[in-house]
């Protein structure tokens, strides 16, 4: 799970990021740094994606 930041965000993301970049470029830098810190975070799943799909295990 060390994928780089998405090069081509979805169109809505592009629009939002462009709007924020135009008016609040500092906010965008903070958000990018936050996302980068989360990618490749310290607590990855202990196994790769499994089959069958792991249950959500929402306590009910």
């Amino acid at each position: 799970m060390s994928a780089p930041i998405k090069a081509q965000p979805e169109p809505l993301a592009n629009a939002a990021l462009a709007a924020v970049a135009a008016q609040f470029p500092g906010d965008l830098k903070v958000a990018q740094a936050t996302a980068l810190a989360l990618q490749g975070g310290p607590a990855q799943p202990s196994a790769p994606a499994q089959e069958p799909w792991p249950p959500m295990q929402v306590p009910r």
């Binding site: 799970m1 008016q23 609040f24 936050t34 990618q39 607590a43 799943p45 792991p54 306590p59 009910r60």
Partner: protein, 464 residues
Amino acid sequence: MSDLGWLGAAEIAAAYAARRLSPVELVRELLERVEAHDPRLNAFIRLDADGVLQEAREAERELRAGRRRGPLHGVPVAVKDIIDVAGEPTTCHSKVMEGHVARQDAGVIARLREAGAILFGKTALHEFAIGGPAFDLPFPPARNPWNAAHHPGGSSSGSGAALAAGMVPLALGTDTGGSIRNPAAACGIVGLKPTYGRVSRSGVFPLSFTLDHVGPMTRSVTDAALSLQAMAGHDPRDASSARTEVGDYRSALEQGARGLRVGFVRHFHEEEQQASPEVARALDEAAALLRREGAQVRDVRLPPLAHFTWPQRVLFHAEAWAVHSRWLAERPADYAGISRRKLLPGAYLGAGDYVHAQQKRAEMIEAVHRALTDVDVLLTVNSMETPCRIEDADEAARTYARHARSPFNLTGHPAIALMCGLSAAGLPLSLQLVGRPFDEATLLRAARAYERATPWHRLRAPGL
């Protein structure tokens, strides 16, 4: 002003039953307290005094006629302004929501009305429950009654401040990463995040579908039990609402600590993050007190804190982004800067990040389930330190993530915050107890056992 503002919900109900107090008398006193203190504390965004008095008169008529609607009949409850009340604006403390008026009551509001509660205004929050203390919004941020220069915690800031200032006996909060338990810690009150699915989220503006919870904020554990009893239950309007039977949250409340097994999770605040010496000492004293009261207390290890906070943050950012992306594209200037900075990271997270976070969540749920097979409740740190000064943005950013609340948003286990001391600077200290899913009765029993053996819940903020 009299001391009526400090009565709890259970005391108010008893006083009504004994005809020692009337709803109108109580509401008039609370309105006076709001008028006196809220210009300094900003707990309320909206409070319709005439409407509240009208509800109080109606409650008074019904009670006099011997018609008791429910356990909260005539008891005022303040509502975090992210929760819909029919016919009233839901601002979410944001310019973005200007002009929005709720068409129907949120599920939790409908239940409180059934129980007879008087809706006593809408309280301030962090914008959309995600931002932080901000000064670039249509409403000022709430301030801490213990020291108005300090943050009252968030995001349910106004609910915490209103309780700690004796303006209201009950309030509603929401909790996605600790937003009930943080203001409970900062304001020295009780905050209960119930099990995921226990209290309806219908009509509550979403932040994160996986992590959002609704719960009561009170000044006593007894009132937390009383209000949860009224709020809990299945709601077909909320897809995440549980069908599990609602427990009896009050019958075991006074059974004490004898026989309870308490797992003390020290490593969160001793190894992965360092709590302030005052907080660490208060937690040790709490563990010792529970032992003296008859509980079996032993150390328990959970996975490291980061194994909870990483997936919690990924889910939080990704899901909040899904909620807010269109508005961010169309009107970014209508958000506070701190909100934009917390919402935008979701644009950069990929589907793989999200899926891995959900997988990790399943692991962490299992880990907490396992820990709770040998003990009845867990005792953990709440905030690592006392609340920062509200106007110090750097300090707010540094301290805001220093806590152990979000693990139990990720896993859905019920968790309660309660006061466990007072710092040398005169600010509250708080602990957290965590229970098994849907076993709020045992969690509340443990919390009450601690509360009744300590003086903290009887303290009042200075000058109030």
